[in-house]
């Protein structure tokens, strides 16, 4: 099942509701990358609340989406990593690198609406 991508102002919101195969994730990456260009989006929010586990492939794909989007002019925020998922990722040594994270959609949108000069100072 493909992930619905909603547009809210100049922010794209991808809310992943069901378990994704590696292939699904790659498709999501390609679609997002394309839509960032089409919609001249300034931000991308990826909601992973429904994930019970984020493995190394998912982590890398999220990172790739963020770097790819940045090259096309949009910042990416990952929201909704659950406590157990976060703990497991740390235990496995997985890292989202410089990708921003937020607790929920509110925070993610607030993060994206801040001027880029402030990013990273949080």
């Amino acid at each position: 099942m493909s992930v619905p991508i909603l547009r809210h102002g100049n922010v794209l919101i991808a809310s992943i509701q069901v378990a994704q195969t590696d292939d699904d994730l790659l498709k999501l990456r390609d679609r997002l990358s394309e839509m960032v260009g089409q919609n001249r989006a300034k931000g991308v929010v990826i909601d992973v609340t429904a994930f019970d586990v984020l493995d190394s492939f998912a982590t890398r794909t999220l990172r790739d989406i963020a770097y790819g989007s940045r090259l096309r002019g949009a910042r990416t925020v990952v929201v909704g990593i659950q406590p157990d998922v976060a703990f497991a990722m740390v235990q496995l040594g997985l890292d989202l690198g410089a990708v921003s994270t937020a607790l929920d959609l509110d925070d993610a949108v607030a993060e994206l609406s801040r001027p880029p000069s402030e990013v990273g100072r949080r």
Binding site: I81, Q82, P83, F87, V90, Q91, T101, A102, L103, D104
Partner: protein, 325 residues
Amino acid sequence: MASDLAGTADKTLAHEMGLDEAAIERRRRLVGLGPEDSKRIATIRDAITQRAEEYAALFFNYLAEVDEARDFMRNRELVEQARRLKIEHLTAMVSGHYGAEYALQRLRLARLYSRAGLEERVFMAAFHHLLRAIGTAAVRAAPEPELGIEAFFSLQKVAFLDLGLMVDVMVAERERLITRQQEAIRELTTPVLQIRDRLLMLPIIGMIDTHRARLLTENLLHAIRANRAKVVVMDVTGVLAVDTKVANHLLQTVAAARLMGAKVIVTGLSADVSQTLVNLGVDLVGLQTIGDLQGGIEEAERLIGYEVFLRDARPNGVAAPLRSL
């Protein structure tokens, strides 16, 4: 019932110390105690058993006079119990049988001493005092002084067997106490406190091991979600020792919190601790640290967007006059 329980505790301790027949035999051999000695001791048996109460009194009268044993002597009930066990001890010392039952009796008395806080050196002084009196009596009781001295030397072997057991028990008991205390420190809970909306505080006190670090991280992550926290101030003022492992635990906690969208500020790294971390080469880059808890909370408030002012110094352009509080 109570004595049953105490008996079980003695047996448990004996087991922990590995005091089986073989170990006791090794101990006997160590002090050179053999069947010959039992025979020699038999010659002075009556002289000792008849006056066992007197000798026990000698032991406790000595303790009553030294300052170091004052706390011990104040506990009437325990002293009375110890006196009974001491009489039993003196009788057993000359019985000629020094096996598991004998060792168990020594254990019971030693545990009582350590429970009552009688220190080893004080106990040894009193025991020496007692032995001297017994030695004198042994020489007097023997048909010839040489035989009395021989018998006393044999008895002394038993005494040193006793001392070995006593000291081992006292040390073991003390180690058990230390272990219990360490467990207590480790089990100190680590509360996650909300001090402002979306601002959490995590004071860490005591030792951090893998198990505790895990609990602490889980608590924090769930609190971040429940309180919708944006910033967490982690205060480690109460963590006295930090090594590579502890530092890694802290880094993992910080990384996990970040994945959930919360920023962690670490405060209270003391001069010693930071020096240790530098010497260990632990890389704390990517960790925001601020000297003290106050600074950390101020920075966290700034990040979230709080501004805190004294009531009389609102930034309305008019500076309030400074008043002495």
